[in-house]
């Protein structure tokens, strides 16, 4: 289910959350990176039909999201995991999924229940399927969230900051789960955690200040850091005077800084192979100020 936006904009009062966003998402797993406040969540909410666009065009699977009929048509084939999804504490995961399934139009009781059980198994919640969700951990709540997004075998899955607040083990498990879903679907993963995209996506877009500042493959985004990624070791502990410090590790021979800079950040700076995080930071350095 492809996504096409042309000149998409959206304002909230005097604040412009999206400035003429042009984006083309062909299918498969697609990452959407950007700092908090970059406009990712607004874009996700528009694609999920929760917010109407302010201007421009949005087409998902050929449906025009500026119309009510188009939004409903997309919502019938959508799985959406909002940022900070809340759950009903009085319901069990099985009941919650059944409820969402009914609202998604899964009217065949037997098929719906079977799908609910399969999804609970997939997200490793079968053992607590009959327990009320009050008191569930953040990881368990996220897993319920992804299970409800998968109900009805959606062609498009939109997940907004799905790993925020998860512990490392849960994050790895969640990433694997998401990557496994992308086979015949479009999975749009919005995150400010670069590692999530590095581990799961072939293609990505980067947003800053409500604009799309990069679209392309993840390896090409990594290459944005080539010639701009440096390692510097200082014995004084002070960071290099130029560039953006990506990491700082204290070792016996001094502090090892990883720095993004267009010029060498010191006489002893050594060029380093960039990671996606380096490429992302280099891109954000070059992106025009908003």
């Amino acid at each position: 289910m492809d996504i096409q936006t042309t000149g998409l904009s959206r304002r909230f009062g005097k604040v412009t959350a999206l400035h003429s966003v042009d984006l083309s998402v062909p299918g498969g797993m697609y990452g959407l990176l950007g700092a908090n406040g970059a406009g990712k969540t607004t874009l996700m909410r528009i694609l999920a039909g929760v917010l109407p666009p302010g201007g421009g065009e949005v087409r998902v699977g050929g449906h025009d999201l500026t119309t009510g009929a188009g939004r409903t048509a997309v919502q019938r084939r959508l799985g959406y995991l909002p940022q900070d999804l809340g759950l009903y504490p009085d319901l069990t995961p099985r009941e919650f999924l059944d409820y969402v399934g009914l609202l998604k139009g899964l009217d065949d009781t037997r098929a719906r229940r079977q799908q609910v059980d399969e999804l609970l198994e997939l997200v490793a919640l079968s053992e607590v399927a009959g327990r009320r969700m009050k008191g569930f951990s953040g990881g368990m709540r996220r897993r319920v969230g992804i299970a409800q997004a998968l109900l009805g075998d959606p062609a498009l899955i939109v997940v907004d900051e799905p790993t925020a607040g998860l512990d490392p083990e849960e994050r790895v498990r969640f990433r694997s789960l998401l990557a496994g879903l992308a086979g015949h679907r479009t999975v749009l993963l919005s995150t400010h955690i670069v590692e999530d995209v590095a581990q799961t996506c072939q293609h990505a877009a980067v947003m800053a200040g409500g604009r799309v500042v990069y679209t392309g493959t993840v390896p090409d985004l990594v290459r944005m850091g080539e010639g701009a990624t440096w390692e510097v070791v200082t014995t004084t502990g002070a960071p290099p005077p130029v560039g953006v410090v990506v990491s700082a590790i204290s070792r016996t021979d001094g502090t090892h800084y990883r720095v993004i800079s267009s010029t060498a950040p010191g006489a002893h700076a050594v060029p380093a192979a960039p990671s996606l995080e380096d490429g992302y930071v280099a891109l954000m350095q070059r992106a025009p100020a908003q």
Partner: protein
């Protein structure tokens, strides 16, 4: 239709599991039942018809049970925002009117249950006490005719008003309204008490017992809403209460639909 039933069913299930629903309403019902004076239904003369006895009980419970009802329903819509389920619900192919209607039906059904239970307990007590098996049947009938329309009226306002004013403020105002709109003598101050829009069930009770229960039909403010109690005026009162209770939902549904298109 299946979406409406789904929302209603799960709203019912969630609400009925709330301990505060049962505690608040059954406690209020127990207190009013135990403290009723010698004019209370327990002291209706021996040999009085079941209709009259159970109408008296419905009126007695109607003094306080709807207050608990309004209290517990006041957070049903705002809690979706509080819990963070709004974005998910809005991403599903279900319109806001269906969600509202389902929440109304589920909330009304679940929150009315303690009232029905209180009536059944009173009916059971009267069946044993007076040896009249019709008491239980009249408990159900009186609940449906006297209490339920008033609860339907309250439900619409209790669901929607906290979206405009806060739930705690609604609760305070609602208690004030309940006594002003039901139990204030019409000659004392302009009031809805004694009108067809009195949700305590003044008209059906007056009709069933054959005399004015509280102020039904007593002259006062808005005289066109104060006909003499009769079968017809009871019917009009029931229909009016249900329809007026639906008004806030219609307004909220229209606003939500417009917000989804343009917000």
């Amino acid at each position: 239709m299946s979406e409406l039933l789904a929302v209603g069913r799960y709203e019912f299930r969630m609400q009925v599991r709330k301990r505060s629903l049962w505690l608040a309403m059954l406690l209020l019902a127990a207190v009013i039942a135990l403290t009723q004076g010698d004019r209370g239904p327990r002291y209706t003369e021996a040999g009085a018809p079941a209709r009259e006895v159970m109408a008296g009980w419905a009126l007695l419970f109607g003094i306080v049970v709807p207050i608990g009802f309004g209290m517990v329903l006041a957070d049903r819509l705002v809690r979706d925002r509080r819990l963070g389920t709004t974005a998910l619900l809005e991403s599903l192919p279900v319109g806001p009117r269906v969600l509202l209607a389902g929440k109304y039906l589920g909330g009304l059904a679940s929150s009315a249950l303690p009232g029905l239970l209180a009536m059944l307990v009173a009916g059971g007590y009267e069946t044993v006490h007076r040896g009249d098996p019709l008491m239980l049947a009249w408990a159900v009938l009186a609940f449906g005719l006297i209490m339920l329309p008033g609860l339907a009226f309250v439900a619409g306002f209790a669901l929607v008003s906290p979206l405009v004013i806060s739930a705690p403020l609604f609760r305070v105002l609602f208690v004030g309204y309940w006594f002003w709109g039901n139990m204030l003598p019409p000659e004392f101050l302009p009031s809805l008490s004694g009108t067809l829009l009195s949700p305590i069930g003044d008209y059906p009770v007056s009709w069933l017992i054959g005399e004015t229960a509280l102020y039904a039909g007593v002259p006062g403010w808005l005289s066109f809403l104060r006909p003499a109690p009769s079968g017809v005026s009871v019917l009009v009162s029931v229909v009016l209460l249900v329809l007026v209770g639906l008004l806030p939902l219609v307004v909220a549904g229209t606003v939500f639909s417009r917000q989804r298109r343009t917000a």
